[in-house]
């Protein structure tokens, strides 16, 4: 569904993606993990051409997103929903207007129909009472859920999540994880999640990819990932108290 072919990207004089190649299958939840600055968000932004590779290309289905422009690029982007790390809600619009924005701007649906769909999506993320609120009145977790409602309002084939649980408490993080799983099972979307929260990655991922210093060091299922002998992955797992015994998400003291 999404294919990186020898993608190379340099930002601010530093190589961020170094000859990256991988493929994401339709319907899976593909999680990219790695330390801060490893190139996770950069790779996500290449999928919707917010960034363009210096070399190589990114394919979405049969379309090369790295070279698309104008309406062709719009058509590719319309296949995506994108949950930004900060949720990126327009601050002067209400929650209802934020979620309905893609429909109001890109379709001829009546206001009533847009409102109906917005309320439907807000109900999916358990925020049916937030319709009239402004983003500034919401907590971080609620903003993320509004961002998620906006990402799914156009029924996209692919949803990209940039650090969906960062800055959230563990309970809210798991709520977001459950939402991501629910969207995959109910809507059948392909999901790409960028995170450094391995508990989240193991809970939602079909496959997990580890980026380190711009290189893809491993792509594996959650079970294989925790058993990987790769030193960077081992270090990452240990830093989050995750062991191969299956007690993911528990600290050694708790276990």
């Amino acid at each position: 569904m999404i294919r990186f072919e020898h993608v190379h990207k340099r930002l601010g004089g530093r190589v961020v993606l170094d000859d990256i190649s991988f493929e994401i299958e339709a319907g899976e939840t593909f999680v990219i993990v790695g330390a801060s600055g490893a190139g996770k968000s950069v790779s996500l932004k290449h999928m919707v051409r917010l960034l363009t590779p210096d070399a190589g290309r990114v394919m979405v289905g049969d379309a090369c997103v790295s070279q698309a422009r104008g309406e062709r690029l719009d058509h590719i982007r319309e296949r995506f929903g994108f949950l930004f790390q900060s949720a990126a809600l327009l601050q002067w619009l209400t929650v209802g207007d934020n979620v309905g924005l893609p429909l109001r701007m890109k379709t001829d649906l009546s206001d009533d129909e847009v409102d109906r769909q917005v309320r439907d999506r807000l109900a999916m993320v358990n925020l049916q009472d937030a319709f009239e609120k402004l983003p500034g009145e919401l907590s971080g977790g609620m903003r993320k859920r509004v961002g998620l409602a906006r990402a799914i309002i156009t029924d996209p084939e692919i949803i990209l999540y940039d650090e969906p649980t960062s800055g959230l408490d563990p309970v809210t993080s798991r709520t977001i994880d459950r939402l991501i799983n629910r969207l995959r099972s109910e809507l059948g979307v392909t999901s790409v999640v960028v995170t450094h929260d391995l508990h989240s990655a193991l809970a939602i991922g079909s496959r997990i990819a580890m980026l380190h210093d711009g290189k893809m060091v491993e792509i594996a299922t959650p079970d294989d990932f925790v058993r990987s002998r790769n030193e960077f992955i081992q270090g990452f797992l240990e830093a989050q108290y995750i062991t191969t015994q299956g007690n993911w998400g528990q600290t050694p003291e708790a276990s």
Partner: protein, 248 residues
């Protein structure tokens, strides 16, 4: 110098795209945005514009009137104030106020949107940021700047009349007779042309600086400051060129 050319080029490309998207502003979904921007551009600025225009007219009348009184010609302050307001000070003072208040706010808003990934979010939703953000602001500027300039001219002329009457002993009737005798339609039209050009300059500079914002809150502050400085410089330059073109 290379950076200056590059910035000018990208600002011009954005301006062309904004003009090309003008027909979309007739649609239901954009009309409200244009109306809102018109309100912000004109109505919200009327208070400060009234004060500045009044005192500009009063200062003009006082300075020219004191000199003219030495020759017993103080009645000519009517034409002096009116012609200067119509040709130069009306559009110029209006533009400076709008650049400092509305232009800086535009740059801050778009700059904040840029650094908080809201512009990126629009792009991913296949919503064109220029059509959604720049064109309504540009159209509002083009429509409202001439109206606000006419208002500035009227208040300035009234301010001159008040000073003429109270401090220089020129009756309101003599002031207005003198004003209408020397002021020409051309003065008004050239002034209004300038106001439209100044509106385009302010919207272009502000939106371009907003989109070019980097480095978080510090970047937003820098974009706001640059908007005011660059707008002032370009307004002065273009104002001189238009004057040179029509009054040789």
């Amino acid at each position: 110098m290379l950076l200056l050319f590059r910035n000018t080029g990208t600002a011009m490309c954005m301006l062309l795209e904004a003009f090309r998207d003008m027909p979309f502003m007739l649609s239901r979904r954009h009309r409200h945005d244009v109306l809102h921007q018109q309100f912000l551009t004109a109505i919200k600025s009327l208070g400060v514009i009234t004060v500045v225009a009044l005192f500009t007219g009063m200062i003009l009348a006082l300075q020219t009137g004191l000199e003219l009184r030495r020759f017993g010609q103080e009645v000519y302050i009517g034409s002096a104030v009116t012609v200067v307001m119509l040709r130069e000070m009306g559009p110029f003072m209006t533009a400076l106020i709008i650049a400092a208040s509305v232009g800086s706010a535009m740059a801050a808003q778009i700059g904040t949107m840029t650094v908080s990934e809201e512009i990126a979010a629009l792009e991913v939703m296949a919503i064109k940021p220029v059509r959604y953000l720049v064109t309504p602001r540009l159209l509002a500027m083009i429509m409202m700047m001439p109206l606000v300039t006419i208002y500035t001219n009227i208040i300035g002329v009234v301010g001159g009349a008040v000073v003429g009457h109270t401090q220089l002993g020129v009756s309101i009737t003599a002031y207005m007779d003198n004003a209408t005798q020397f002021a020409e339609n051309k003065d008004l039209y050239v002034g209004l042309l300038k106001s439209i050009l100044f509106g385009i300059i302010i919207a272009t500079v502000a939106c371009h600086q907003g989109f070019a914002t980097t480095q978080g809150a510090v970047g937003v502050g820098q974009a706001t400051r640059r908007t005011v400085v660059v707008s002032f410089l370009v307004i002065l330059t273009v104002g001189y060129m238009v004057t040179r073109l029509f009054y040789q």
